[in-house]
Amino acid sequence: MFVYIARRVVYVIPIVLSVALVCFLLVHITPGDPLVAILPADASQELAQQLRVAYGFDRPLPVQFGLWLWRALHGDLGSSIATGRPVLAEVMKAVGNTVTLAIAAAAIGFTLGLFFGLIAGYFRDTWVDKVATSIAIAGVSVPHYWLGMVLVIIFSVQLNWLPAVGAGPGGSGSWAWDWEHIKYLVLPAITTSVIPMGIVTRTVRALTGDILSQDFVEALRAKGLQETKVFRHVIKNAAPTALAVMGLQLGYMLGGSILIETVFSWPGSGLLLNSAIFQRDLPLLQGTILVLALFFVFLNLLVDIAQASIDPRIKRS
């Protein structure tokens, strides 16, 4: 086990470095001068040159990358051009809100996905299967930002039950797990949960079907095991793959929250990314993407390790 973990961790290092390189290069594929957002239109050539030196844009690219990486390793991602505050602090504050949203959405999506997937796989080709499969297809096909709008139309505009935007009463203060705050979370969380729900349903349905058609299930039934206990064997065999898919989906929810956060003005990393893009705040853009991608990489690492620890077959291969 230890060897497996060590090997997986070592394998992550080049990935992390390449992710950093991609994030660094993002700023340099940007058309025009990276200083364009802070320079006044009538800035003199000398001022532009001074700022270019101050931000280090005058040095060769590999040197810039090295310096940027070195500072990033020490937790310094520069400061936001728009607000002047350190990028890392801004990003971490926003990521907290995104994690809250992702956990709530995961709780809804994974529970429903596992339930629909198991019953659809178990009662394959019956009406139960057809209903569950249709819900799953709708879940993966719906443009979630549109679903968010439709939910706002129904529950905020027409019924006036839940707030349409924000993350708490009186703007986006600090988060708390009470109803005053949770009612702001309901619609974004449901909206975020539909894609993972659909994908988990489809995966678990396929897994359950495959496992039920294997010989060992036949043997379990032949020896007279109760159907509920057979079902427990199915769950045990489906768990490692289902876990991997859910881990990946959690990562997608954390990294891909920009559309939903924009619809609901949820003050998370996606909304931060949105404002960084439109204010051309390049350090903030770069920093947010780097932090989110690193979250994703480490989440994948954790999932791999968790998967190997419950499924002995993986370590051997």
């Binding site: 080049p14 990935i15 390449s18 992710v19 991609v22 994030c23 993002l26 700023v27 594929i29 940007t30 058309p31 297809i137 709708a138 993966v140 096909s141 719906v142 443009p143 979630h144 930002y145 549109w146 679903l147 709008m149 439709v150 706002v152 139309i153 505009v157 027409q158 990562g251 997608y252 954390l254 990294g255 891909g256 920009i258 559309l259 924009t262 619809v263 990314l273 949105n274 960084a276 893009i277 439109f278 853009l285 993407i289 989110l292 991608a293 994703f296 990489v297 994948n300």
Partner: protein
């Protein structure tokens, strides 16, 4: 594989043996859901292509006195948008850009990814490592984040959003193409072709491409649904099309402010994206099961 050969042998004496693709074609034509989806998609495509001949209102011509009319208003069957433009015309014309920016990235990625994946899978060795490790880097980003990061860095625009989505899908298709190719490469008939002196290019073109393209194609059609949602999503954020072009994602964005006045008109463009996306998903599922002859 054995099951397939057996059925082929049994069927041979009775009628002229049907080829694999003919069988797949017959199976998919019999599938009602796939055919319904194909029909709906065909209608949307034809309407978008022949929009100028459908005697629709001008999708750019607005009017301040007839803004945000409800669905079912005489002369405006689907109402009007926030600038008083006819929604029916804008939804049909909107299909042109929406379908283009949704589907073109997958087509481009299909060619690039298949090329990279087949070469990586066939040649193997260092080239494979180089290609597949590069692909791994892109897998370290959630696809929405990658699309938005590239689009955000390149700036708004139709070409930029097509480029960014292509970059998102190339690694995914490359990975599938590589694994399918590696599987086919070890088949006996490839070995036989090599033994008979065929060069690498001939083997790839004649013996391998035909056997890997089917799987990659089905995988790619499954991506169209994601691509439609992402492409419209980029426009929705303001990173794709620019006003006043009719495009479903952008229309959804500009109509967001109208949800308190005329909510159901505001939701219409999203319903179009949903319809196209679900049809492509169901069609792709239908093709996958039609190609899985063993069942």
């Amino acid at each position: 594989m054995t099951a397939m050969t057996d059925t082929a042998l049994q069927a041979a004496p009775a009628t002229k043996a049907r080829g694999y693709w003919a069988t797949v074609g017959r199976r998919i034509v019999r599938d009602k859901v796939s055919m319904a989806c194909a029909f709906i998609l065909l209608l949307i495509f034809l309407a978008a292509i022949f929009a100028p001949y459908l005697h629709l209102a001008d999708p750019y011509q607005g009017s301040m006195i007839r803004r945000l009319r409800f669905i079912g208003t005489p002369n405006y069957p689907l109402g009007t948008d926030e600038l008083g433009r006819d929604m029916l015309a804008r939804l049909i014309y909107g299909g042109r850009l929406s379908l283009l920016i949704g589907i073109l990235p997958v087509i481009l990625a299909f060619f690039i990814g298949t090329g990279l994946g087949v070469v990586a899978g066939y040649v193997g060795g260092k080239l494979n490592t180089a290609i597949m490790r590069t692909v791994d880097v892109f897998y370290a980003f959630p696809s929405v984040l990658l699309a938005i990061a590239i689009s955000g860095a390149l700036g708004a625009g139709i070409v930029n959003s097509i480029v960014s989505l292509t970059i998102v899908f190339v690694p995914q298709i490359t990975r599938v193409a590589e694994s399918v190719t590696t599987g086919v490469r070890n088949m006996d008939y490839v070995e036989a072709a090599r033994a008979s002196g065929a060069n690498a290019f001939t083997i790839m073109r004649v013996h391998m491409l035909g056997n890997v393209l089917g799987s990659i194609f089905v995988y790619a059609t499954g991506l169209i649904s994601v691509s439609m949602i992402l492409a419209a999503g980029l426009s929705f954020l303001g990173l794709g099309t620019k006003p006043p072009e009719p495009e479903w994602g952008l229309m959804l964005n500009t109509l967001r402010t109208a949800i308190y006045v005329n909510p159901w008109v505001a939701a219409l463009p999203g319903a179009m994206i949903f319809a196209v996306s679900i049809c492509f998903n169901l069609l792709s599922d239908g093709m996958r099961s039609a190609m899985d002859i063993r069942n």
